[in-house]
């Protein structure tokens, strides 16, 4: 594969949370300002010649459609080329992949990848729970978002003896990490006992097994490796990426103890980057529910299939563990503003590889970080991006 090397020269986000006081446009402007402000040698906003915006569902704030024209105007960049990407929960990570390809192709010079999502303009009942129709509209009524992942917990427990305590260990770790991340929605510790005592949401998942509904925005600035040094002395490079699909509905899955889209997407990204899971220093993975992180670390090859629960319980994925996972607090603590999620994960990888993550900094030895999302009804699509600080 021959492609021009792409560098990340800036990244930033706004504090995630229930941002009742901010409009979609204001959140976007905040994330863009943070990304611009992060560029070591400075950058003129007008240097941006293309924008890829990720927003998953505008209907959550009353917009049936959100074209590419919404964000440039809000950033003072009306006239710049802009395209909206919607690809379920990996929308943000796929926007990054598409932005990287735009630079790699040489068509665009400086690309802003920005994810923006309004989750809380509507009430909880009207939000993602609304219609309880996450599945097939005729057959699968009553399916809310947790229904898309909880069946995997039931089956994982059945086949591998995974326990509620193992699931809870994921929530405990990510909430701990969230305490160290000033951008996280939740910044408080939780205990295993608290997770196990939280109300049942979708058995076997409880409230603290679930990510919150969060507003947020995040942005990164991409340019070619050749131009990167104009903006920074510490560029981070795009090492590889992969996207893969699977059948969309839960009844079409070939397995209920893993997500094949993640396996395929990551194998493509590893091949492109020329690295394997053992060469990663950290990973930001899709932990919309505790079980999802356990599936992810197995499907991404960090641990053997079936060992995700014990590995989580034993601290292998903690900040000082063998493979730190979700140092930002993950979706569970930082939040999951869908379009922004992937871009925020990439910003975390960028900080970590530049060793600028403060109290939650992990040890960077080999210089590789992985970012992953999976989603779309029954996890029908996954995107994996791998970044490196190695030139």
């Amino acid at each position: 594969m021959s492609w021009n090397k792409v560098a990340v020269v800036g990244g930033g986000l706004i504090k995630f949370g229930e941002l009742f006081d901010q409009s979609y446009e204001q959140m976007a402007a905040g994330a863009f300002a943070a990304a611009v402000g992060s560029v070591d040698h400075g950058i003129e906003p007008s240097a941006v010649d293309a924008i890829i915006v990720a927003t998953q569902r505008g209907t959550l704030w009353g917009q049936e459609g959100i074209g590419g024209n919404t964000v440039p105007s809000a950033l003072g960049l009306s006239g710049v080329a802009c395209t909206r990407v919607e690809n379920a929960c990996p929308s943000g990570s796929d926007a990054f992949r598409i932005g990287a390809m735009a630079v790699a192709s040489g068509v665009h010079d400086v690309v802003l990848v920005i994810g923006v999502e309004k989750m809380r303009d509507k009430s909880t009942q009207e939000g993602l729970l609304a219609r309880a129709a996450a599945g097939h509209p005729l057959y699968n009524r009553g399916e809310t978002a947790p229904v898309l992942f909880a069946p995997f917990a039931t089956r994982h427990m059945h086949e591998f003896g995974t326990t509620p305590e193992m699931l809870a260990a994921v929530a405990v770790k990510n909430h701990h990490n969230g305490c160290l991340d000033p951008y996280a929605h939740f910044r408080s510790e939780v205990t295993v006992e608290q997770v196990l005592a939280s109300p049942p949401v979708c058995t076997p998942l409880r409230l603290l097994d679930c990510c919150p509904q969060t507003d947020g925005a995040a942005a990164v600035i991409l340019t070619s490796a050749e131009r990167a040094t104009e903006f920074t002395d510490k560029p981070v490079y795009v090492a590889g990426f992969g996207v893969a699909t699977d059948h969309p509905y839960l009844h079409e899955k070939t397995t209920y103890v893993g997500l094949p889209a993640t396996v395929t997407a990551s194998s493509r990204a590893y091949a492109m980057a020329g690295v394997g899971p053992d060469e990663l220093d950290m990973a930001e993975v899709h932990d919309c529910f505790t079980i999802t992180e356990i599936l992810d670390i197995e499907d991404l090859g960090f641990v053997e299939k079936g060992k995700g629960g014990p590995a989580s319980l034993e601290g292998e994925t903690a900040l000082d563990g063998r493979i730190p996972v979700n140092p930002s607090g993950g979706l569970l603590a930082k939040g999951h503003p869908i379009g922004a999620t992937g871009v925020a994960q990439l910003t975390e990888c960028w900080w970590q590889l530049r060793e600028e993550a403060g109290e939650r900094q992990v040890s960077i030895r080999r210089g590789y970080a992985l970012q992953h999302n999976v989603g779309g009804r029954g996890s029908g699509v996954s995107v994996v991006n791998i970044l490196t600080r190695n030139p």
């Binding site: 009942q125 009207e126 729970l129 609304a130 219609r131 309880a132 129709a133 599945g135 097939h136 509209p137 005729l138 057959y139 699968n140 009524r141 009553g142 399916e143 809310t144 947790p146 229904v147 909880a150 069946p151 995997f152 917990a153 039931t154 089956r155 059945h158 109300p199 049942p200 949401v201 979708c202 058995t203 076997p204 998942l205 059948h247 509905y249 839960l250 009844h251 079409e252 899955k253 070939t254 397995t255 209920y256 103890v257 893993g258 094949p260 396996v263 197995e298 499907d299 299939k305």
Partner: protein
């Protein structure tokens, strides 16, 4: 009157029971006797009818495609105006060319359905008819009906008996599927049918008893109970019964509609015979359109009694119809009645109000993404109600539903045959959803089912199974009401745990399985591989 054969029967009762004393306690009116059956939030007169009819077809050994039509009587169909009959016929697997009729408007509808089906057979316009009588009426708050109104369904498969005096066809072959052995008895396998309907009589009087006006969702009893017992109910029912005797039949027992647990016995006494089916009312209450036929099925459950004649007398809306049935042996399917009536979860008055939508939260239900009148339903309702799959000629994998699978989920092939799915399967995995917006009610299991033909579905489960469901459990697909969507009932299948014997209501849907088996090898199960 030309006799017709009874080939098989089925019965269904809803999953909830309430002691009448709960009603008395709620209103401070003492503790009336009795128990009534009532529908859970996902049941109604149509789902009960489906269950009874499914079981009746299986008991009779009749393929749905062989049924000439569906004659359904229910005082209040689920769509007051709309596609009630078509939905039920499709879900039962009847052909798109099936005839029949829907009778409604009073609890007499069940007897009208029998009469209509019988007349079609006698006229030679049908060979096999499916008769269903069901009701799940909602009594008005504070009316006497609250302590008596039950719910149930009963179904009879009727077959034509060739007229021995008429010439046979050119081939000399009997009309299918009912053959004759040279006597006046007939059944699909050439043996005498278990029962024949031999006489019928109707009496009418223009009186207002029960009443429900436009816009009313519950039934009011506006009549004086003593007045109507003496001047309407007893005289009409007895006259109809005596008219049977006038046609040369002499019933040995009387299966009588019973709105209060006393009227049936009083009518039977005046007709000079014992009451049949006296076990029905005490267990499920007044079952409206189903009452008299349920009592007939009860009378036909016992194989030891020997040949006898039972008079079934139904009533509703000022009309009484009596039917004389000559039983030669136990009615196929009737033995299941005791179990059908006997099960059920006990609920209190408040839960009864909630499941009957008489106690509703102030919060607005959130409309579904797909309105029941939308294109997705027009396109997909038949394949969903008919439980169709697309089976790949190349690899045998079944993709569901066909309309969203132009290509096989197993191999991507595009040569697919539409098949009816198996109705039984095993739980692959499941969840119990505890947090949903109205109109959904927790706990709601959602189950990935590996069907016995290798197909896989994800469907709702029964709240009754929520606490004890497990991977590997055997389940049966049963038609249930998913929601009232913008006031319109939406139907779909739920995976309900099969009875321990593995032969519980809902059955094995043998007609569905059989068709797949005819086509050859079973589809390979999807492999779990990661």
């Amino acid at each position: 009157m030309r006799p017709v054969a009874v080939l098989g029967v089925g019965a269904a009762a809803p999953s909830l029971r309430m002691a009448a004393s709960e009603v008395g306690a709620a209103w401070g009116t003492g503790a009336p006797k009795g128990t009534v059956a009532l529908c859970d939030a996902d049941e109604d007169t149509l789902t009960l009818a489906w269950q009874a009819a499914t079981d009746a077809l299986r008991s009779a050994g009749i393929e749905p495609a062989a049924v000439s039509g569906l004659w359904w009587g229910t005082a209040r169909p689920p769509f007051a105006e709309g596609p009630s009959l078509g939905f039920l016929a499709t879900a039962l697997g009847l052909g798109a060319d099936a005839g029949g009729a829907l009778y409604a408007g009073s609890t007499h509808a069940g007897m009208e359905a029998v009469s209509g089906a019988w007349d079609a057979l006698a006229a030679g316009h049908a060979e096999v008819t499916l008769v269903v009588a069901s009701d799940a009426l909602v009594p008005g708050l504070g009316t006497a009906g609250e302590t008596t109104t039950g719910a149930a369904a009963v179904a009879l498969v009727l077959g034509a008996i060739p007229d021995p005096t008429a010439g046979r066809g050119a081939s000399g072959a009997p009309r299918t599927p009912v053959s004759t052995d040279g006597t006046d008895s007939a059944s699909p396998n050439g043996a005498a049918p278990p029962a024949r309907l031999v006489a019928r009589a109707t009496r009418s009087a223009p009186v207002v008893d029960r009443y429900r006006g436009d816009g009313d969702t519950a039934t009011g009893d506006v009549y004086d109970a003593r007045l109507f017992r003496e001047e309407v109910f007893v005289p009409l029912l007895v006259e109809a019964g005596r008219a049977l005797q006038g046609q040369g039949t002499s019933p040995d027992a009387w299966a009588v509609t019973d709105p209060d647990g006393r009227l049936g016995a009083a009518v039977a006494k005046r007709l000079g015979g014992p009451l049949a089916g006296g076990d029905v009312y005490p267990q499920v209450g007044d079952t409206g359109a189903a009452a008299a036929l349920l009592a007939l099925v009860s009378a036909g459950a016992d194989d030891d009694v020997g040949p006898r004649t039972v008079g079934a007398v139904g009533y509703g809306g000022g009309r009484a119809t009596a039917v004389a049935a000559e039983l030669t042996r136990a009615l196929p399917g009737a033995a299941a009645l005791a179990e059908v009536l006997g099960r059920g979860r006990r609920v209190g008055y408040v839960e009864a109000l909630r499941v009957r939508s008489q106690l509703v939260p102030m919060a607005d239900p959130i409309p579904m993404g797909v309105p029941p009148t939308g294109a997705a339903f027009v396109r997909g309702n038949a394949e969903m109600l008919g439980l169709e799959g697309a089976r790949c000629r190349a690899c045998g994998v079944i993709s569901t539903p066909p309309s969203i699978h132009p290509h096989c989920v197993g191999c991507g092939g595009s040569e697919l045959d539409v098949v009816r799915l198996a109705r039984r399967g095993t739980v692959q995995t499941f969840v119990v959803n505890q947090t949903m917006p109205p109109p959904f009610q927790a706990p709601l299991p959602l189950i990935v089912v590996d069907l016995d033909d290798g197909a896989r579905l994800m469907v709702q489960g029964s709240p009754a199974d929520a606490a004890t469901l497990g991977i590997g459990d055997r389940v049966t697909l049963a038609l249930r009401r998913y929601a009232l969507e913008r006031g319109v009932p939406v139907y779909g299948y739920k995976a309900v745990r099969a009875a321990p014997s593995g032969d519980g209501p809902g059955g094995d849907g043998s007609f569905g399985d059989a068709r797949l088996e005819e086509k050859g090898t079973a589809a390979p199960a999807k492999e779990g591989a990661t």
